[in-house]
Amino acid sequence: MAKRLDLKAVDIFYGDFHAVSDVNLSVSPRSVTSFIGPSGCGKSTVLRTLNRMHEEIPGARVDGEVLLDGEDIYARSADAVAVRRTIGMVFQRPNPFPTMSIRDNVVAGLKLQGVRDKKKLDEVAEASLRGANLWKEVKDRLDKPGGGLSGGQQQRLCIARAIAVQPDVLLMDEPCSALDPISTLAIEDLIGDLKKEYTIVIVTHNMQQAARVSDQTAFFNLEATGKPGKLVEIDDTEKIFSNPHEQATEDYISGRFG
């Protein structure tokens, strides 16, 4: 299931604006990689190129290669829709579909891909909700709208929805930034469980969170305003937080800027 991601010489543009330059990194299967860095350094942009979500912004384009187990997701023969089916995403703010029940939210991906088998859908719904540590809390109200859950529950619902389509990679764009500390803890525990099966990349503003959940950490930075963001370094999380290679990383980690 879980696959390896490699970025080779990736440059990202929005029209004429060069957002991120020359990113090279590898993410191994069944691990958590966190992207940290100051606002506007392009870490979310990089994340969104990993499942071609940035294409929804007109004028966006990518140079270089993003390889999923050696296969370029930007190859001419690759369809963005198919890519996203393999590389799932969880967003900053929980965004359950307001017109759907909890169960329908979880299986929305499968249903809209054409799966009709009711029994299978119910199984997947339960498995995904269990996987997202939400099953016990919602099993009695699967037919209620997803919008009625608390923020943290909604976010776990969105995670359940993302894993229901059995992706190879799970991207998380600051998944806890809209949540209270207790819900945040629940999500972090969940990430620990999920990495047994998935390759996870998470963008976070919270350095403690990066230190807690990730195996390796990538630090992004801007050289100056107006210049493209770039990857300063990527290494084992322990190394980054104790003895980083670059001075800029140490300055950021120790709170001297950003």
Binding site: V81, R84, G88, M89, F97, A108, L112, G147
Partner: protein
């Protein structure tokens, strides 16, 4: 704002008061403006109340008469008070319904085009033309259908021709309303669907559109209310009939506005009786639609 007015104390005339009130001239201007603005609103209420009161007072007798809702005017003499308008109610409803059947899907698809797909010149032109279409007078729409379908293609006058003209009048209302609702759907929902690997068109049909549904339905009902009172198209495109005609594709068919217009040439007092009765009936139907629209709009899935 005159919050400081009362604070200038008359006990201390020697020094300038700390909180000096605006000069008299400014205050007068401000009060005058407040008065005029309030007056404008009251002035607008006068015709509304006046029109509605007139229609109710003059029409209530007719709509309470026993045959009003269940009979047509078939065989009823001009000076007689007998008969009813169910044939005209049917005509009004079926003509509007047929128009909606055509205009709603096209309008929703066009709105989806403008919000989700349209880029560049064609989208700009389309958006511009929607505004122009919204301003096309109903008589021009009727003439166009007459010129294109009846004169050139040789179609017969019928209720369906009326419906075609009403389509032109409904379309811009449906498009603008749907457009507005689609724009209210948060992009986060679209992104969530894309991230699940759902193609854009399915995202729109299954996620975006259902989320915007109540607003869209509201828009359709308001558009229906608008076209039901249209008189110009029925004058040009269909003949009047005193009896019921269930077939919208051929023959004369009454509708409430057409019945009212025909009875205008009836010199008997019973003509006035029927005119105002039909007017009240029309207003009641439109009010029901408006009420329905505002009920539906409460069930919005989008929390603003």
């Amino acid at each position: 704002m005159s919050t400081a007015t009362g604070l200038s104390s008359p006990e201390r005339p020697a020094t300038t008061p700390t909180f000096q009130a605006p000069s008299t001239g400014r205050k007068i201007k401000n009060n005058l403006a407040t008065f005029l603005v309030g007056l404008a609103f009251v002035i607008a209420l006068v015709p509304l109340v006046w029109v509605l009161a007139t229609v109710v007072v003059r029409g209530i007798g007719a709509i309470l008469s026993s045959d009003w809702w269940g009979r047509s005017l078939s065989g009823v003499l001009p000076e007689s008070y007998a008969g009813g308008v169910y044939h005209a109610i049917y005509g009004t409803l079926i003509q509007a319904a047929l128009a909606a059947v055509i205009a709603v899907p096209i309008g929703i698809l066009a709105a989806i085009y403008l919000v989700e797909y349209g880029r560049g010149r064609l989208a700009k032109t389309t958006s511009f033309m929607v505004d122009i279409l919204a301003g096309v007078p109903s008589i021009v729409a009727a003439l166009f259908i007459f010129a294109a379908f009846i004169s050139i293609l040789g179609a017969e006058q019928s209720a369906f021709m009326v419906s075609l003209a009403l389509v032109l009048l409904m379309l811009p209302v449906v498009i603008r309303n749907t457009e507005e609702m689609l724009r209210l759907v948060p992009d986060e929902l679209r992104e969530a669907a894309y991230a699940l690997g759902i193609p854009k068109w399915k995202t729109i049909l299954r996620i975006v559109l259902p989320t915007a549904l109540s607003g869209t339905v509201t828009g359709v009902m308001l558009a229906l209310a608008r076209v039901m009172g249209e008189t110009a198209p029925v004058l040009v495109l269909v003949g009047y009939s005193q009896s019921i005609n269930f077939d919208p594709f051929s023959g004369n068919m009454a509708s409430l506005p057409l019945l009212m217009f025909s009875e205008l040439s009836n010199p008997e007092p019973s003509g006035q009786f029927r005119i105002w009765g039909a007017a009240l009936t029309l207003i009641l139907i439109i009010m029901i639609l408006q009420l329905g629209a505002s009920v539906v709009s409460r069930f919005s899935a989008i929390s603003k």
